[in-house]
Amino acid sequence: MSFIIYVLINTVFVLLISPLLMGLIKKVKALAQGRRGVPLLQIYFLLAKLLKKENVYSTNSSFITRIAPYLNITFTAAASLFVPLVFIPDPVAGIGNVILFLYLLVMAKFFMALAGLDAGSAFGGMGSSREMSISAVIEPGVIIVVAAIAFVLKTYNIPQMFALTLASPIFNSATLLLISISLFIVLITETSRVPVDNPETHLELTMVHEAMILEYTGPNLALMEMSHAIKQTLLMGLLINILFPWGLATALTPGGLLLAALMFFVKSLVLAVIIGLFESLTAKWRLFALPKLFMLAYALAFLTIVVELLV
């Protein structure tokens, strides 16, 4: 029973907060660049507008284009259950398995990449191909980061990880700080941000994520944007709750939940500022230079393991 409540709370929270975080980062970037930027809630307006528009399909496209947005958001939303943002539930049937979490996200990406290929546009194909290569190259880093966390905390269940870090007064282990840098790089990559990708451009040869969803309009685009936002929230949540889990509720009390939600909002605000600043301070890298970045993430995570072994 408590599980179903958890599902509802977590999903609703994720759905609500994701566009906001998206807008937050946009705002931070704009401010950093000396612009006023769009309103914080702009993303909500955008989604609402898209839902009202009609769907336009390419004559070349097949059912893949039609099902991809739904599958995409379904899998991302399912993945959101694995990262408790406000409340740590009791483990149920392997919910929270970090590997499953990662692969649910990959599944979403898989269909998005297929959809990119479906219409037969040159941009979509290029985007898919780049997306899949980037995701392949970052994968060892991701897994090793996760493995390092699992290695430090001796569990591979995300809620349990949070519970463990929550139980300890300050940084459970200094090594977690090392990991967090890697985790940050993963976050940047997976959410298609500078220097890996540029979320702002639409018709440049450098783009990756945007190229794949180029053919979408209307409600379908809204679903795609939404799932992208959710994914970003999840990864941010993962980083935040491993490093600074304070405030996470462990019991179902309305006050605790509210506090937790507030705490999470504040923490994610800080992170959004960091991301925005980071994005403003770096330029986009060449595609073939990216492995250097990933190697950094990999090396740091590996270092964590080595340090942990020596301790």
Partner: protein, 557 residues
């Protein structure tokens, strides 16, 4: 027993019947032959399931030639699992072949194809069922021989000749090492029976292990003994490729596991060797696959990759066993065996659907295809299911077995030796890379073959294939779902309590979310739709050649 012998006889009949009427061009004879294979395989599936569920080994002597020399049958859970793999793929194979085999060359060749297929399956079943070394060796060779003839099916093609020669030499090399090992074992125990080799010195055991590993490894397609595999699998008819890639290389895995678990006393360094070879095979296999433009060779390279993954599981098993961690060892072994089953299912599925495509297109070059999803929707869907499964994406079966391996890896902190842990983590990261590259590769493969616009005349004129060629793979696709979603329940039912997520719950949640989102979108969104051409950068029409993804697949590091 009651099911086994009639099945074997049915296979033998399926082989003999077309041979007797070799010169007759009679479709009915071939249909009967494939029908016999179908029935026998169905029986064997039941038998395997019975043994698997009851966990009561069957042991019997089929034919005693002289004392100490004969054909005996020994079926325990391990053997039953592999019998199940062979049988279930054969069921699908038979259904697929009803239609497919009619498109392959002259009538004598069609008859020969049916005959050799029967013999091939028979020899694989008998190898797995063999209760002693002698019959194992015998049927191993028979299997190699029949598969060689199947590879040589299009013997007039230059390419096939090369493949055939390569294949034959490699199988003989594998026999060489196996014979060496078997004879050493025989000379230690003094009998052909499969029994623990407790008396032998560690050095001797090491020699036996190395030669067994090479012998089985060649057949399984482990790097660097893999060279034959892409050649052979692409040269043979597609239904046979499905058998070879789906089943035959698994038979080698069976041999390896059988000897590691029941006969030899593994040491730590064996596990490290297996693990290293596994990681290398997995990684290089998938990298080769990425470069490939021949669809069947692409799939063949993925077989190498998956064999690598299976070996990683076996290697972990040996390592954990050497460290006295039975639970982790069991998890790794279960992962390896489960992945063996899963790979058999989705690889056969992929080979069959790819075979349909190749048959329609008369080319194996994927750059000539494109847009087939609209002409062959069922085939495309089946291929997609296979692609999702092989890319290890939830909730299908391929994911579950890879997840188990990941979990085994993650728990390697319980090992004592730091250097070993470092090694395992390097292995883990490369394994992750493999898995991601596989997904990338199948996005590419599925995208180029089925999506976008046709890039050749044949692709534009393609037609959906006959029902048999849909139903056969569809069985496998259904099983991919079953073994993915029901994995936790199945393991629990069999009495193995493994710490894996309950995919049934996950799937229910997924369905729930999907339904919710569909409903929500129905309520809030604009449901109008419009069709329009893809934006072609302002040019009058889209060039088909554009939608080939750039070959931007940087080699990692």
């Amino acid at each position: 027993m009651a099911l086994l012998v009639p099945s074997l006889i049915a296979y033998a009949l399926a082989c003999l019947l077309p041979l007797v009427f070799l010169r007759k061009d009679n479709k009915a004879i071939r249909q009967v032959s494939y029908g016999l294979i179908l029935i026998a395989s169905a029986f064997l599936t039941i038998l395997a399931l019975k043994i698997f569920i009851s966990n009561q080994p069957i042991s019997a002597v089929l034919l005693q030639i002289t004392p100490g020399l004969g054909f005996s049958v020994f079926l325990d859970r391990l053997a039953a699992l592999f019998i199940f793999i062979i049988a279930i793929v054969s069921v699908s194979f038979a259904i697929y072949s009803f239609n497919y085999a009619e498109h392959t060359g002259s009538h004598i060749r069609k008859n020969l194809l049916a005959a050799f297929s029967g013999l091939f399956i028979l020899s694989m079943v008998l190898f797995v069922a063999s209760g002693n070394i002698f019959s194992q060796l015998l049927f191993w060779e028979l299997m190699s021989l029949t598969s060689f003839f199947l590879v040589m099916f299009d013997y007039e093609k230059q390419e096939t000749q090369k493949s055939g020669l390569f294949y034959f030499v490699m199988t003989q090399m594998s026999t060489l090492f196996l014979m060496f090992a078997f004879i050493l074992i025989y000379n230690i125990t003094g009998s052909f029976d499969l029994q623990p080799l407790s008396g032998a010195s560690p050095a001797m055991q090491g020699v036996i292990f190395v030669s067994l590993f090479i012998g089985f490894g060649i057949k399984a397609g482990i790097m660097p003994f893999h060279k034959w595999l892409p050649y052979a699998h692409s040269a043979s008819p597609s239904n046979v490729s499905a058998l070879m890639s789906g089943v035959m290389i698994k038979v080698a895995i069976y041999g390896l596991v059988r000897y590691l678990v029941f006969v030899l006393e593994p040491e730590l360094w064996w596990g490290v060797v297996i693990l290293v070879f596994g990681v290398v095979s997995a990684l290089l296999g998938v990298i080769y696959a990425l470069k490939e433009h021949d669809i069947k060779r692409l799939l063949a390279y993925h077989s190498i990759e998956n064999i690598g993954i299976i070996l990683i599981g076996i290697g972990l098993y040996v390592i954990f066993r050497a460290y006295g961690l039975p639970e982790l060892a069991f998890l790794s072994l279960a992962a390896a065996l489960f992945h063996t089953l899963n790979h058999a299912l989705f690889k056969s599925l992929l080979f069959m659907t790819a075979g349909s495509v190749v048959m329609v297109m008369s080319t194996r070059n994927i750059e000539k295809m494109g847009g087939l999803i609209k002409k062959m929707p069922y085939t495309a869907t089946l291929f997609l299911i296979g692609a999702v499964a092989i890319s290890a994406l939830p909730p299908l079966n391929g994911f579950v077995s890879e997840l188990m391996i990941f979990q085994a890896f993650f728990q390697s902190f319980s090992l004592g030796s730091p250097s070993l842990i470092i090694l395992l983590f390097i292995g883990l990261s490369l394994f992750a890379l493999t898995s991601a590259l596989a997904a990338a590769c199948f996005v590419k493969a599925f995208g180029i073959i089925f999506l976008a616009t046709p890039r050749s005349e044949e692709a534009a004129n393609a037609r959906e294939v006959a029902p048999g060629m849909i139903i056969g793979p569809a069985i496998l696709a259904a099983l991919c779902f079953l073994f993915g979603i029901g994995s936790y329940q199945i393991f629990t039912y069999l009495g193995y309590h493994l710490p894996i997520p309950d995919m049934l719950v996950i799937s229910l949640i997924l369905i729930g979310f999907l339904a919710a989102f569909l409903l929500a979108m129905r309520l809030v969104s604009n449901r109008q739709k419009r069709f329009s051409d893809t934006w072609a950068c302002g040019l009058p029409a889209l060039m088909p050649a554009w939608n080939t993804p750039l070959p931007v697949f940087p080699t990692p590091y």
